[in-house]
């Protein structure tokens, strides 16, 4: 079971799956590869999703919030930051007034549901209960 991230285009379709070998169930380490994927996709980018391998309402960690703010500052655009748990998903966007004030909402259309299922599948791959958690 590992945390996985996916870069999304403006049609909410996956552009790049980020599954580095040094990820574990609680963290995706800093990655120049992920930054290069974001930079290369910047003209068509809508956001990034990553998994949290627990049940219940998603909430960004401090690491997540500071990464959201850093990437937006580097790219010069605001993005949608999805967090997908085993049974829920929310999309966080900057609402201010502070640099790290992001607010979540849930609005899952068909395109979104498709990659959410795939993100859970990839995150649970080697878990004994893998595949059982997708609603």
């Amino acid at each position: 079971m590992i945390e996985v991230a996916v870069v999304l285009d403006r049609q909410h379709r996956p552009l790049h799956w980020h599954e580095p070998p040094d990820a574990d169930a609680a963290a995706l380490p800093d990655s120049r590869d992920l930054w290069e994927a974001l930079w290369a996709a910047r003209a068509q980018l809508s956001g990034v999703a990553h998994s949290h391998l627990h049940r219940g309402r998603p909430a960004p960690s401090w690491t997540d919030l500071t990464t959201f703010a850093a990437c937006e500052a580097g790219l010069g655009v605001r993005l949608s930051w999805w967090i997908v748990t085993l049974d829920d998903a929310s999309c966080f966007t900057h609402r201010g007034p502070g640099r790290y004030d992001y607010t979540g909402r849930t609005a899952i259309d068909q395109e979104t549901a498709a990659w959410i299922a795939e993100l859970r599948r990839r995150s649970l791959r080697d878990h004994p209960a893998g595949g059982l958690e997708t609603p």
């Binding site: 945390e3 991230a5 609680a26 963290a27 995706l28 380490p29 800093d30 990655s31 120049r32 992920l34 930054w35 974001l38 930079w39 910047r42 990553h50 949290h52 391998l53 627990h54 960690s61 401090w62 690491t63 997540d64 500071t66 990464t67 703010a69 850093a70 990437c71 500052a73 580097g74 790219l75 010069g76 655009v77």
Partner: protein, 93 residues
Amino acid sequence: MNQRMIGASQARLNITWDGQNGDLPDSVPFDASDAEIKAWASEALRGGGVPGVTAARRADLQDFVIDRFPATDEMPYNRLFVRPKTPFGIQCG
């Protein structure tokens, strides 16, 4: 920048900010600390000193990281890149 002007202990410094990136005109010491590099990069961004990047008075590189690449046969000088950090985590703070 002319790469022949970059000494063995120096590096070209590339900075990404606000959807743009550029190289600092002057080379910097390759073994400078992350804090030193971020301070020079912030100062350059604020003063409009990075060609290709619009001056950004409020530039703050607190959540940025430094990638360091030593010279190679293909790239005959050291390079430093200031870019946004990208980790995610449930528990680490």
